[in-house]
C-alpha cells in the first residue's frame, strides 16, 4: 500500500506526460499493488454501455442511405449548373475588361496638359488665353506681330514690326 502511494506521489509531482507514460508502462501497469488502485477492465465494462445493449439500430442504415442520396443529388445539380456559371463568369470578366480599356482610353484622350508644358502645337491653355493682342499699331498702321514663348520659361515675348 505504502509502495503504491509513493509511486503515485512520484507520478503526480512531475507534470510531464512523457514521464508519466514511461512510469505507467515500466512500472504501474505491471505492478499488482499499483493495479489494485485502478479499476479493472471487467469492472469498467459494468459501467459502460456494451454493443449488445444499444438496442434497435435498424433505422440507422435507411437514414444514412437517404442522406447520402440527397447529397448525391445535390452534387449532380451543382455539376450541371457549373458550365452555365463558368460561361457567366467569362462574360462578366470580358465586360469588365472592355470597360476598363474604354476608361483608360478615355482618360488618355481627355487628360489636361501640365501647366509647364510648352505651347508648341499643343492645345491653348487658360493662362495663354489671358494674353490677347487684338491690334498692335505702329504709326497708326497695323503692325506685323510675332508672339513666342521660350522653352522652359513663363515669359511671353511679343515682337511688333512696322509693315513695310
Amino acid at each position: 500500500m505504502g509502495h503504491s502511494i509513493l509511486i503515485e506521489f512520484i507520478y503526480r509531482i512531475f507534470p510531464f506526460r512523457s514521464w508519466k507514460g514511461w512510469l505507467l508502462r515500466h512500472h504501474m501497469e505491471g505492478c499488482p499493488g499499483c493495479r489494485k488502485r485502478l479499476v479493472s477492465r471487467e469492472e469498467a465494462r459494468l459501467l459502460l454501455v456494451q454493443a449488445d445493449e444499444v438496442g434497435d439500430l435498424n433505422r440507422l442504415w435507411p437514414s444514412i442511405k437517404e442522406r447520402l442520396g440527397e447529397k448525391a443529388k445535390k452534387d449532380e445539380k451543382n455539376l450541371s449548373s457549373k458550365p452555365a456559371m463558368a460561361k457567366m463568369w467569362r462574360l462578366a470578366a470580358a465586360a469588365v475588361a472592355i470597360l476598363l480599356i474604354a476608361a483608360g482610353v478615355n482618360f488618355w484622350l481627355l487628360r489636361k496638359p501640365r501647366p509647364d508644358t510648352p505651347l508648341q502645337g499643343g492645345p491653348i491653355s487658360a493662362e495663354t488665353e489671358q494674353v490677347q493682342i487684338h491690334y498692335v499699331k505702329i504709326d497708326n498702321e497695323p503692325a506685323q506681330t510675332f508672339i513666342f514663348q521660350p522653352r522652359d520659361s513663363n515669359i511671353i515675348i511679343v515682337w511688333a514690326g512696322k509693315n513695310l
Partner: protein, 182 residues
C-alpha cells in the same frame, strides 16, 4: 482485411458495400458514442454523421492504417463537437437553471438506477478519459490504438486511461459503491 475489400468496392462505385461496413460497426460505434455523450439521441445523430463522413472521405483513407482506429477517431471528434455545442448551450441556460435549481433539486438525481449511477460516475471523467476507458474496456484497444483515435502520443493515451481508471476506483471507494450488477 475485409474492411479494405469493402472500401475498395465502395470506391469503385458499389455504394451498397458500405452497408456491410455500417452493419459490422454500428453497434460498437453506438455503444462508444453513448458512453462518451451519455444519451441515446445524440449518440444516434453522431453515429449517422460519422458513417456519412466516413463514406464521403473513403478516398482519403490510407489502407495501410487501421480502419477501426480511423472510424473511432472520426466518431470521437464528432462527439467532441456535440459536447462543445452542449457546453455552449449549458452556459447560456445556466442562469435560468441556477434560479430554478432550488425547486427541482429533489428530482434531479435518482441513485437507484444502475445506468444513472454509471452515467454519474462516467461524468467524473473528461471526454478524452471516457473515450480512452471505453475503447480499452469495450473494444480492447491498446494505448497505441487509443493514441491514434485521440490523435495524441502513446504516453498521453496511457495517462488518460490511467486517470480514468484511478478516478473511478477513487470514486467507488469514497462512495462505497459497488459495480456488482446482481
Amino acid at each position: 482485411m475485409e474492411d479494405n475489400d469493402w472500401i475498395t468496392a465502395c470506391l469503385r462505385g458499389n455504394g451498397e458495400e458500405f452497408k456491410k461496413i455500417v452493419d459490422k460497426y454500428k453497434a460498437c460505434v453506438m455503444a462508444v458514442a453513448m458512453n462518451i455523450l451519455g444519451n441515446r439521441e445524440d449518440a444516434e445523430d453522431v453515429c449517422q454523421e460519422t458513417f456519412i463522413q466516413i463514406f464521403r472521405n473513403l478516398e482519403y483513407f490510407d489502407a495501410r492504417l487501421s480502419f477501426r482506429s480511423w472510424l473511432y477517431a472520426i466518431l470521437f471528434h464528432r462527439c467532441l463537437d456535440v459536447l462543445k455545442k452542449k457546453r455552449r448551450f449549458r452556459n447560456l441556460t445556466s442562469k435560468v437553471r441556477n434560479e430554478s435549481s432550488g425547486r427541482f433539486a429533489s428530482q434531479a438525481y435518482n441513485p437507484e438506477e444502475k445506468r444513472q449511477l454509471s452515467q454519474h460516475i462516467l461524468k467524473q471523467l473528461s471526454p478524452k478519459e471516457r473515450t480512452a476507458l471505453c475503447l480499452w474496456a469495450n473494444e480492447g484497444f491498446t494505448a497505441v490504438e487509443i493514441s491514434e483515435v485521440l490523435r495524441c502520443s502513446e504516453s498521453t493515451a496511457r495517462v488518460y486511461l490511467f486517470n480514468a481508471r484511478r478516478k473511478i476506483r477513487q470514486f467507488l471507494e469514497k462512495s462505497h459503491g459497488t459495480l456488482d450488477p446482481h
